[in-house]
């Protein structure tokens, strides 16, 4: 049983973080506003979860200005994709195992 748990990634163990990763897995990138609308969370809440994922180098943050307005794009890193896939298969195994 223990070896199953080891692949469960603590960094993804939250509904909002799972949501962020899911969106970024199937889209080239997403903007802050898009993520916020899709997940239905507040700015502060989303920002803190993004920061956590960024700290692990699972997502890439790209800041730029469009018509003088700040615009932030998020995308997954190779590492993020790999870790997320591992996490999902760990979840699937756990469910099957029980």
């Amino acid at each position: 049983m223990k070896h199953l748990i080891t692949n469960i990634n603590k960094s993804f163990d939250h509904r909002i973080r799972l949501g962020i990763m899911s969106i970024l897995m199937v889209n080239e990138y997403a903007e802050f506003k898009t993520l916020k609308e899709l997940l239905g969370v507040t700015d502060g809440n989303l920002a803190s979860h993004i920061k956590a994922l960024e700290k692990e180098a699972y997502i890439l943050v790209e800041k730029q200005f469009i018509n003088r307005k700040p615009n932030t794009k998020y995308s997954t890193t190779q590492l993020g994709k790999l870790e997320f896939k591992k996490h999902i298969s760990a979840l699937e195994k756990l469910i099957k195992h029980n």
């Binding site: 509904r15 799972l18 199937v26 609308e37 997940l39 979840l91 469910i95």
Partner: protein, 194 residues
């Protein structure tokens, strides 16, 4: 976390992936109406032109344009209505991606068709309409639930048949733009909309 939570995680992940990348507000009714408009247009052309042996290409083009404009308006209307019903935004990033991939192929095709129309090469023009329409649909299908892909494949088959049997192209258009849209719309309506 218990099993149930993990299971919920997986379903949440799937849902979020689908919601963020697929355009699910496309209503089957818009396809049904497109089919009906095309059939009415076809019937009008049959009575006015084919029965009287005049076969005017300009009447055919006018009918085609009217049918297309009506279909686009209907599609926009039903998409809005359906998006509201299932509580989703009609004008999302996926919509923009869908429209841009759809229109790239369509614009290229339209340029070809307009040039051929001005050169009055109507026989060469006929198969190009379903061909480019089909290609645009297949190209855009990755942003939908893939209900659009079979429609695109059928349009391309119609285009090939138009090249082979140019005399039958009126009936091929009636089948391709009329009947196929109608049936496709009904399938989508009963499978996804209900």
């Amino acid at each position: 976390m218990s099993d149930k939570d993990y299971l919920k995680d997986i379903t949440d992940i799937k849902k979020m992936m689908a919601k963020s990348s697929r355009f699910i507000s496309l209503s089957g009714l818009s396809s049904v109406y497109t089919g009906v408009y095309a059939l009415i247009g076809g019937a009008y052309y049959y009575v006015k032109e084919i029965k009287t042996d005049s076969f005017s290409p300009y009447v055919a083009i006018s009918i085609f344009l009217i049918v297309s404009v009506l279909s686009v308006i209907t599609t926009i209307y039903f998409t809005h209505k359906r998006a509201k019903k299932i509580n989703e935004k009609a004008w999302s990033k996926t919509t923009k991606q869908l429209l841009s991939t759809f229109s790239i192929t369509l614009v290229i095709g339209t340029c070809f068709i307009i040039i051929l129309a001005f050169q009055e090469k109507f026989e060469q023009l006929i198969p190009l309409v379903p061909l480019f329409y089909g290609l645009s649909l297949i190209h855009a299908a990755k942003h939908t639930k893939n209900i659009v892909k079979p429609l695109g494949v059928i349009q391309i088959l119609i285009a090939l048949l138009c090249v082979l049997f140019i005399e039958q192209s009126f009936w091929l258009y009636v089948i391709g733009f009329g009947l196929v849209h109608l049936i496709n719309g009904l399938i989508i309506y009963f499978k996804y909309d209900k």
